[in-house]
Symmetry: C2
Subunit: 715 residues, 2 copies
């Protein structure tokens, strides 16, 4: 569904609202919602319905939905679950186009409730009616204005942050907390059970609101991973999107057969998805709204170099720590700046960044020093520290600073230290829409998010590179042909022969290999390649070959090869008597180069996910890996290398010579395309990919692939 979906308009710009279940009893939710609708100064029509009739807030209560006059396009249902389907039917007949179901008692209560929810969906679909909920506490818009929630007053102040939430309880808490923290909301939407309208639909719609400058999301998951990435990515190019995704630890690990599968949890996929879309991930609610205020109110910095302005040494050091912990750097001040500061401050002041004006700093010194720092071209933003000043009020300092901050195109965040003595300053800054926080640490974190946002906007997303001559269709046909020959073992592993042909088709370089079925053949092949050689069990039933004693390396003569052949077969039979064994692979030893791992898995939410990192048997132990959504661009592939030690080491390190980094990127792009083309391959892993010297390329020394059996049977 597009973000311009006209069917969502009745939720966000309703002409007339029908509250079904309006109540005269002040402890009922149907009273609370009526009160909020009336008091929120909503300019459209408000109609109340209750079979008991009567009047409420000076308005007649209709006894049926059919009686409601025009205009009316949005229904809000606050009636027992069992009564909802019939009411929806009446809404449909009355010509309403959308409904918010506030009632609980649906899918969240079990099978019966789930069926009731399906009934609702079916009825709504029959009338082309859209549903928000069930179990939604409603929505509000402080600018329209409308408050269609049943929460106790007062609602949020008008503001520029939209909040979209899977949890209703969090909505209530955020409204209350935001007022205390002194920031407003533009819109709030409680999604409830998402029988119909989901987080992605609302994200697109809310982003179109001109009053919304930042979108914040409380997510317990996403309904359609790829659609979310696409839509959020589109929105994030225009407005910042921050997500708090909970349920990190709730997801049980599925059985997996590869290192990639073992390391790729739901969280890796969410992180890769957020990164692709440009969604900023917050770890806590406080962090989300700290960042939202900075993003809504501050210009974006042109770089990572920040200045700290303080009237006390201790908090200055804390701020410097926090800036560097957040990946920012302390700006080197220009000589002109230092000279200018010197002319304004006492001799004992510290003119190096952090600039410590000393406890005697006046409001004028604060203002003039800040102005001096902001004109320094090497300063991209300023963190101002304001403890209760011993000789002036923090409020006076705030008043002096505000015009300087408003006049600058660089971001300034304030660390107010204390509570009561800084209240007046807090109010000045909030009214001036300048982000202020209680301690330097939170201020530094917010500055770093401004940098992250600026860098995201500067990074234009290239089109994924088409390095591979194989079209998606060709790849699929290839796999299909193999599968139709029933070469798939029951555990889903593809045979080595299939895997190698697939790799070759996608242009993934593999070493020459032949299978020996007797010791004599093994010796003959080894002699052909030249000693030393490596030998490896050829069996699709044995996944971790080295664990099974199925790999021998550095075999330097015919006797070793002959004995090795017997040993490998014996080990394999001991470990897995049932395993079907094709023979033993023989290939040359590659004695130089660096080993990395490249893998791909199919994430149930987000589809193909590519992994890169330190290879070998210790992959999970070292955990030096990074993930990204397929298909990859060149830049994203390069970024995977930068994020891992394995990737950085490819540039050379100490006595380790530089390796063919471009060959690795090329291989990543090929696997990214393979995984995108073939969703039936749930795991595909090269471990190791041996990377040779610059220009010498790379070789996939071991590849494993597993198909989803059920899915394959339907190809």
């Amino acid at each position: 569904m597009s973000r311009n979906e006209p069917s969502l308009i009745p939720f966000f710009a309703p002409q007339g609202i029908v509250l079904v279940g309006a109540s005269q009893n002040p402890v009922k939710l149907g009273y609370g919602l009526a009160r909020n609708l009336v008091h929120s100064n909503y300019q459209g029509a408000v109609h109340f319905v209750n079979p008991n009739g009567g009047s409420l807030f000076g308005r007649l209560i209709y006894t049926s939905i059919a009686q409601v006059p025009d205009p009316a396009d949005l229904a809000i249902l606050l009636i027992p679950a069992a009564a909802v389907p019939r009411a929806l039917d009446e809404c449909g007949r009355r010509g309403l186009q959308a409904a918010i179901i506030g009632s609980g008692g649906f899918r969240e209560t079990g099978q019966e409730g789930a069926e009731l929810e399906q009934d609702c969906l079916r009825i709504a679909a029959g009338y082309g009616m859209r549903l928000l909920g069930p179990n939604s506490i409603g929505l509000l818009d402080t600018h329209l204005p409308i408050d269609a929630t049943f929460l106790p007053p007062p609602g949020p102040l008008p503001g520029d942050v939209a909040f979209i939430s899977h949890s209703g309880a969090i909505c209530a808490a955020v409204i209350d907390w935001a007022r205390g923290q002194g920031f407003g909301l533009s819109r709030l939407v409680s999604l409830g059970n998402q029988a119909d309208v989901n987080e992605t639909d609302v994200l697109g719609a809310a982003a179109q609101d001109p009053y919304t400058r930042v979108l914040t999301l409380y997510l317990e998951g996403v309904s359609d991973g790829r659609r979310f990435v696409e839509e959020a990515g589109r929105v994030a190019r225009e407005k910042p999107v921050i997500a708090l995704k909970v349920g990190r630890y709730a997801s049980g690990q599925q059985a997996v057969a590869s290192h990639t599968g073992a390391l790729a949890g739901q969280e890796s996929a969410f992180n890769a998805a957020f990164r692709r879309a440009g969604v900023i991930r917050a770890d806590t609610s406080e962090e989300m709204f700290d960042w939202a205020r900075a993003l809504a109110w501050s210009p974006l910095p042109q770089g990572r170099s920040m200045a700290v302005l303080t009237n006390a040494g201790g908090p200055g050091v804390t701020a410097a720590d926090a800036l560097e912990a957040n990946g920012l750097v302390l700006a080197q001040l220009q000589e002109e700046t230092t000279a200018s500061l010197r002319s304004m401050l006492p001799p004992a002041a510290s003119l190096k960044n952090p600039v410590d004006m000393l406890a005697s700093a006046t409001p004028e010194q604060y203002a003039r020093c800040l102005a001096a720092l902001l004109v320094d071209p090497g300063v991209h933003g300023v963190l101002v520290i304001l403890p209760p000043p011993p000789t002036h009020t923090a409020g006076a300092v705030a008043k002096a600073l505000i015009p300087i901050i408003h006049a600058s195109s660089k971001p300034v965040v304030i660390a107010l230290m204390g509570e009561r003595l800084i209240q007046e300053a807090v109010e000045h800054f909030r009214a001036a829409r300048i982000p202020e926080y209680r301690f330097p640490e939170r201020s530094a974190s917010s500055l770093s998010i401004l940098v992250e946002r600026a860098e995201f906007l500067n990074r234009s997303r290239e089109v994924p590179a088409g390095t591979n001559p194989v079209s998606g269709q060709a790849g699929r046909e290839l796999l299909q042909a193999w599968l139709s020959k029933e070469q798939l073992a029951s555990n889903g592993f593809l045979s080595q022969g299939v895997v190698l042909e697939l790799a070759q088709t996608y242009g993934i370089p593999t070493p020459p290999t032949d299978i020996a079925t007797s010791p004599e053949e093994a010796v003959r092949l080894a002699t052909k390649y030249g000693y030393p050689v490596a030998m490896k069990i050829a069996s699709q039933d044995i996944a971790h070959k080295s664990d099974a004693g199925g790999v021998l390396l550095h075999l330097s003569d015919a006797e070793a090869v002959s004995q090795g052949f017997a040993a490998i077969l014996e080990n394999a039979k001991k470990l897995k008597p049932q395993a079907e064994i094709q023979g033993v692979f023989i290939h040359p030893m590659y004695l130089s180069g660096q080993d990395v791992i490249i893998g791909a898995v199919q994430d149930p939410q987000f589809g193909p996910l590519v992994m890169f990192g330190s290879g070998g048997v210790e992959v999970e132990g070292l955990n030096d890996v990074a993930f990204a959504l397929a298909p990859l661009t060149q830049a994203e592939a390069s970024d995977l290398l930068e994020k891992t030690w394995a990737g950085r080491k490819l540039k050379g390190y100490r006595n380790i010579p530089p390796a063919d980094r471009q060959a690795v990127i090329d291989c990543l792009l090929r696997i990214s395309q393979l995984a995108s083309n073939l969703p039936e391959l749930v795991e595909f892993e090269i471990n190791p990919l041996r990377v040779f010297s610059m220009g010498e390329g790379a070789l996939a020394l071991d590849i494993r692939a597993r198909a989803r059996y059920n899915q394959l049977s339907t190809i």
Copy 2:
């Protein structure tokens, strides 16, 4: 100095205070301090001194210190820096025993100020007088009571958290902020320049205060690392100590020659020191005081299993995430508990942990469910989530919960969601001394600190193991003998011969090695050991041997050895023409086992520091290392292994067989003793230590040691 140091008594239990620099001018600090002394209800004598005389707050102002009558033991000086030495002299003559210097203008301003500070110290020492400051904003004790600061009123509420700070500005902010956060302080001490009394002195003194339940420290460093560790360790066995150590990024790296030296920054040393002492390290001020309240007010949990009680699903999931992110686990509820919860809650409630009572939860349900969770023996603590309840007030819930929490010996922390709607509940909980926080994340973090504290108290510190037959004296004599033979190169590196003899003396196992000085001798030695052999340049001038092409491995015949000898010498001469070369080491190849690194450095603050981790050339890249203060106990050595992948892998992993873990621990203890005995050795590193199969021991395949040259010349 002992924590029972009687000379500090005048600071913490003064009989009479002499304020030198008392002022009638309300904008002067000397007015503020007089006001605070008088208004703080201090029961001892208060005397004002100012050469202008007059009266203040109904008291006579003496014109000289000599005039002040008894009782008088503590002076507070708020006069220009230049006048301080003379005033101190007068204080001494008047028989005062201690002085707080509030004035600035000393060491922090440069050389002249530093000399003035030295004058003050000298004068005070002459009278046996102790000094706090200069640049101290003073101290206060809310129970004595006394407020000897010049900060604007009101001071902090009486409480149980002591705050000791290197930064005066932070003191002012913390007092103000603590009031807003609703917690009190027992004592507050601003240390200023620490000309005399330092953080360690005050820590011991403050810990003796019966009203202080938790000590919090804002540190910019420590004056004497080892003494701090000893004293803080003693205090922490009795009362929790939390430190916020700032200046993480301020410390420039010194030039170092080993991996250990490169990785051991000031922060590694502080972390090791805090861990040894049992000091809890906070990253932010908010975290420090969040934790302080929990530690001051809550019983300690008996384990890591926590229950979550909520009336809404979303915050419950957030809490579960946060508990697991903090290393805690969700308790498995007993069947009896689940049955009991079922009898109290509606059918749709979730009886699994997190327990979701649904939005309809009443205060009674909150209380009865909490009681049921607290009697479950598998539950070690509870996190209660309280958003503004839709149908009851949060205050009513708080009142119902408080008696249950007070009656339990398990910790309960509260996550109040919101701001204004929960204010009444906030006040009830604060009055009842039950820790409450705004979001589940901060609550979970505080629960985890209670667990950390409980585990620290359960861990009794063993005496460092004396595995080594060499006494400290013997080790020192050995080193001295070598040094007197001037075998120390000018860069501080000990020759390989010295290093090996030192290692052998300390019982560190090394492979048999001989130095070949000709290709023929190399071949003869190789034949003696049997092929393959390894060859390595023998030169104390070449530190990173493999970088210099000075290492050859797997040499399998006489020809390879002969050619290798020539190649190694050529490489060495090419890289370092000046290097003095003893020849080439020949030793057998060890083809099996795991490689680790063990190192020791001398930290300027905390003395010998031991490192363990993943060895090889990639040490810094992998950064899989851990540090601890020497001397180590068996348990601490074992802990170093647990903290690193290199150490965990020693137990075996996949096809990597288990290795001789005990041999590594033994080697760690020996190096720990060596580093403790020989502070002149600034760096000592084994890389790699090859660890063989269980019972087969380990061998130090390469060792490097560097001595501090200046220090050595004085041996």
